[in-house]
Symmetry: C2
Subunit: 322 residues, 2 copies
């Protein structure tokens, strides 16, 4: 198998070589090219290529489906940015800032249909399974986004609800990305499902790690200012887990969040997290879901060498410092 960097480069090349209608339709398709040219790790389509290579020794066969996965991912970012009113992404104005909101909505819709089209460019006997996996994943992603939106005004959020939310928003896409690759590669239903599990659990570990980094990460390598989630009063794993401890902490946290955004609030909230051992608790949760991911991976019929490639990817994703 190639390295992650090599697969990622293959994705970049394929994305750049996509042809869109021009002329009077530039106003519909140019924002799509813009959204897809922002770079990033391309982890999701890399997973699709790796799945196809691992089970069928034929990553190129899954290239168009991989592009579909990346197009879907960027469609969700585009609409999420409208809903969250986010102005910047990866150091550039978001689509609704660079163009306008209606463009972001309509070009986003177009990306979803293009993604479905690309993902469907597989052999006829794989189409049903690939399409069902894709559509079911898409519904999980919307459900996760809806829960996330509803959390904003929620008084109490259970840890289970939080996990359901990140499984939808983050886990299901990683799971479907690698499962679709595995199906294209000819994996058995059992192996395809185990790879889905590997992807979902890696996604959960990744998201909790991301929440952890925002509070306990190293500012010099995190790439964003520490405490952004605290300042935005985001309902992270840390927040939900701390609140679910009950008792005095609930009141203490609520008071800390009354402090205006800024260093004082970040320090006050972090102090409570420290007192509750959230640092350790978070690390444990990351370890728990990482172990689940590896357990699923180890249960597949893949060779040790191929398993090692997926272990490395999970490590790169979860062990990342930024």
């Amino acid at each position: 198998m190639k390295t992650i960097a090599e697969y990622s480069a293959d994705i970049e090349t394929a994305l750049r070589s996509l042809k869109y209608p021009s002329g009077s339709l530039t106003s519909l398709y140019q924002p799509i090219e813009y959204a897809l040219s922002a770079g990033g790790k391309r982890i999701r389509p890399v997973l699709t290529l790796m799945g196809a290579e691992a089970f069928g020794d034929d990553a190129p066969k899954a290239l168009k489906a991989a592009i579909g996965i990346e197009t879907f991912h960027n469609f969700t970012l585009l609409h999420d940015d409208v809903m969250d009113k986010s102005d910047m992404r990866r150091g550039r104005p978001t689509v609704h800032k660079k163009y306008d909101e209606n463009t972001a909505i309509l070009s986003g819709d177009t990306m979803l249909t293009l993604a479905t089209k690309y993902v469907s460019e597989v052999e006829d006997d794989k189409l049903r399974k690939v399409l069902d996996t894709f559509n079911d994943m898409a519904l999980r992603v919307y459900e996760g986004q809806r829960l996330d939106m509803d959390f904003e005004d929620a008084e109490h959020i259970s840890l289970d609800s939080y996990l359901e939310m990140i499984e939808g928003k983050t886990g299901s896409l990683l799971g479907a990305a690698v499962k679709i690759g595995a199906i294209i590669g000819g994996a058995s239903d059992k192996d395809a499902q185990l790879m889905y599990e590997y992807g979902v659990m890696t996604g959960l570990a990744f998201q909790i790690q991301d929440d952890w980094l925002d509070t306990f990460g190293d500012a010099s390598t995190f790439g964003k200012p520490i405490g952004g989630d605290i300042n935005n009063a985001k309902k992270t794993y840390l927040y939900v887990a701390a609140m679910s401890e009950g008792g005095q902490n609930v009141e203490a946290l609520r008071s800390a969040y009354q402090i205006p955004s800024g260093d004082v609030r970040v320090k006050a909230v972090t102090r409570i997290y420290d007192k509750l051992g959230m640092n350790e608790k978070c690390r444990k949760a990351v370890g728990h879901y990482s172990a689940k991911a590896l357990k699923a991976l180890n249960s597949t019929s893949l060779s040790e060498e191929k398993k090692e490639s997926f272990r490395k990817l999970a490590e790169k994703l979860i062990g990342r410092k930024k």
Copy 2:
């Protein structure tokens, strides 16, 4: 074949019996039920059922795909209403007014994926053709909506661009609706394509007729106030055709549109349309596209009796007074 009213009732029953996830996901799925419960003629899914019945004597086999077509149609209305900032639809608040804009965006996305899922519930050997027809149609619809949005600020719009816009926004969906039914019924590729043509041309005639009714219709049967398009400065067939006549009319129309919205403007614009014989020109265009629709229909291998059902539907749609 059943009557249009009977097929329409079958669609209503099927829509009402759809089950959506509840509990914490009510906030995602309830707006979808709301959007789909607004009624309407359900012409598009009726076309799907009729296509399947005409070519395979089995309308029920196409019921889920028909529901997919109607779900897609309502998804586009939902997002269009956000983009157009429309507050009312079919006498009820639009989704973004009843709920909020983010709900309209996200539940709309969910409807698009649900529509794709439903449309895919066909036999394996039909899946590729049905899915390709559906996805290509969806792209045409977005392209039409984009053109429509771009027309708002356009100085000059050619009649060809206008026709491209309504072929995308209106024609392609009617065409794909009946074509998907025909495919499910087992139509030959040639017949399926002729039925697509029948649907597209019926859609063009329908849209031009709709533009005509807004100015020359009978207020007592139109269901909306006459002159709404003129007051909203909509770029209709009448407007584009009148402007393309060139000469003095261009200036006269521009002046008439300087008059504030209201009866005076409507009368001034209508006077110019009258002078240019737009009433007659419009009727001719409707006749032209209706004839094209019937020509395609007549070229199919369908029996005379079945052709008659589709003729009736086109007549009902185009000859409507409201």
